[in-house]
Symmetry: C2
Subunit: 495 residues, 2 copies
Amino acid sequence: MNTTERLPNWLKKRAMLSPHRPAVEFEGKVLTFRDLDLQAEQMAAKLATQNLKRGDSCAVLIRNHKDSVIIIHALFYLGVKIVMLNTRLTAAELIWQLCDSEAKLLLSEQTFFEKINEIQSSMQELPIIEKEALASISGVEGVPILEEFDLSDTATIMYTSGTTGNPKGVIQTFGNHWWSAIGSVLNLGLTEQDSWYCAVPIFHISGLSIFMRNVIYGMKVVLVEKFNEAEANQMIIENGVTIISVVTAMLNRMLTNLGGKRYPDSFRCMLLGGGPAPKHMLLECKEKGIPVYQTYGMTETSSQIVTLSPEDSLQKIGSAGKALFPSQLRIEKDGMEAEPNQPGEIVVKGPNVTEGYLNRKEATGETIKNGWLYTGDIGYVDEEGFLFVMDRRSDLIISGGENVYPAEIEAVVGSHPSVFEVGVTGLSDEAWGQIAVAFVVGKPGHVLTEQEIIEHCLTRLASYKVPKRIIFYEELPRNASNKLLRRELRKRLED
Amino acid sequence: MNTTERLPNWLKKRAMLSPHRPAVEFEGKVLTFRDLDLQAEQMAAKLATQNLKRGDSCAVLIRNHKDSVIIIHALFYLGVKIVMLNTRLTAAELIWQLCDSEAKLLLSEQTFFEKINEIQSSMQELPIIEKEALASISGVEGVPILEEFDLSDTATIMYTSGTTGNPKGVIQTFGNHWWSAIGSVLNLGLTEQDSWYCAVPIFHISGLSIFMRNVIYGMKVVLVEKFNEAEANQMIIENGVTIISVVTAMLNRMLTNLGGKRYPDSFRCMLLGGGPAPKHMLLECKEKGIPVYQTYGMTETSSQIVTLSPEDSLQKIGSAGKALFPSQLRIEKDGMEAEPNQPGEIVVKGPNVTEGYLNRKEATGETIKNGWLYTGDIGYVDEEGFLFVMDRRSDLIISGGENVYPAEIEAVVGSHPSVFEVGVTGLSDEAWGQIAVAFVVGKPGHVLTEQEIIEHCLTRLASYKVPKRIIFYEELPRNASNKLLRRELRKRLED
């Protein structure tokens, strides 16, 4: 079975198969697969000067940019694992992940100089290099490039927060990425005209997975640094984009910008992930003939694991679809498989599912049992096997496609000297899908303002995690065992 | 890594994902994937009455027919390995394979009653059942159906003859079939409109692999019992067939029948395998805008391993293309990798390559070294990495897509009491690609006719192996060590 676990180096193979095909378009310039390979090789030669050994981990703090794609492949070429850092995190949050992952190097860029300086002052031993500094470095000649990828080797590590405690590093192997790409192609198909628009962050699995498909499929990707709805619509209408990955907030803005216009028939897939979508939006898409494929996935499943299929995209509105070909899905209630239409925990399995969390044997064991991943999310499948996601994992807030965990915000708000107790919950929001709202009880005799709490958060939390509203309360709802009832908070909010 | 080696049962999964899609069209009737699953389940229940246990081998001697597709899936459902028998073989040849594979059952159909009777009289212990007899059998209720396929499990066994000795059973795992299907989809793409025409035998990997893609891709297959060029052209021109697998002889007949007509744009792939193609035919296809994708593969690679890509199909005429994404190719000369344009042995590697021959440790070790399969075929790759196949494995004759080994024919002709010695070689033929020609030296004093030799062969060899011409000689060309010089024979023939 050794042979089935090794594949030729993906970009190298793709550059050999389809050297002249467009690979990545960024800021109007197109790199072919041969260009991408050559530049990745040059970058690998430069990175080889940084004391990186095969099997080491290198953290990257980089924007959506063609250079970032090149850096990712260059690190794969060297056999170095990549810790994908969320650029929106604060220095404190980044430091935590850098320590936990034992990264041997932080590779970043000048635009993040403030965070870099903060990190460096806390982690003086950590080598840090900016990509701009690499430009003037001569590469090591004859650097050995990985000829084959072992599918069981770790490719990337991405941190996700949990309901409690610190973020956990999700191990994503080459196999996880491969099977994810294959599951998707068997659902969506593949044509020579395909061009996938990437305006989601490449440090998230939603963005990174597009670049795995890029080389595995030999498919063009149009990359932008920041999402802009007018530009996205224009790329679809005038520039031949056939597939785009979006979250609710992006789709919402694209629809408003689109107005009465329609997308051309060549546009074949609006892949909608990252949390719940309001039904009225999906109906509007149906009216406009927009092929929305709702999908359900997470960092632990290396992107999609459940997705609507072409024939169902306009029929089963509100459903996330069925488990992709290599994957399986079931709903568990009280340890048993639930009946159709009966809600329970969403449990998934497949070769795209992570083997676990970095250095977290216990958390891994709690989440993955017999190969099945317990997502903590609640949903049901109907008689035909379509998944309907009802509620993301206990109290998870998904704001603009980013996962926000109440517990993490509560810890920060609660650390303010004048806060007695705090509870955080999500509120539905037209623009962001959901926003975080904090219910705060002040300490007796202390004067506390909304502004003060938000400022306290801003230095400690990525801005997308900072509560958008603070509501002052005299007491938080708790159950008999004094457990905070977040659902009760949400109910009060909705009332 | 356990999870990556198991996938949901393919047809079950496909029927769950796309129950209403057309799966198989045969004689004008269409089965959906749900139909196919239901009928495979019923068939499994009937076959369960035949004392087949999980892990057993069942040999099948069946024509291209929808029932055969159902039988194949039913056997997979039961976890039974399938020995795919070539229906053109004589009873004697079949008996050899039945014994070698230790098949627990022979499943066939009435049309082959003569062969079945002959087999039964030689193998009285072997249970044999005709599919017509299954119709009236009640199935076993609640037969356990394999929920998952282990990719390392044997799915099918197909016999190939070698240059010497008896045919060898090539072990094809579920993983081999899976990776073959994936390699192909990453090259050819996949659309909702796809419809693959199967007029090649399903007992060959060329046909069987279409039915693996059928369920893995959720793609319609149009199956016919026998190839007919007029019907094939009509299916492409009027009935939406988008892809067809052909060998040279089929393409030749299709071109003649097509005359001045052209195929519609929806027809996107003429997949041409099974041996050398004359350049003038490929040029004619180019003139007519026919997208010919030459391909190179064999039973041991579970169909294609090297195939032209869409952008090269009209550019690199005469080349078989590059190794598919999961696979690798190199040319070896004197134990070293050959330079571009230097001929040598074609050596391939990939997860679609067999792990070896059934019960033939030695033959396996000679053919597969360090995961690389030594094909025995001769070819070169050009500077861009395109493979040009020059000569199939030593002395192999490919006639109408069937492999014919001179050694096998020589053994039979040589067993005629009046034959002193014999040498067999291939001759290029417009209709069949190649035909077998026998050079015979009679025993002194014996009178021998062409007719007598052919009749002697017809009872012992499948008709496609019987030499089409017999040439009487006084002496065969041999080298110093008395080895027959088949190339010299061919040269004489061409002169």
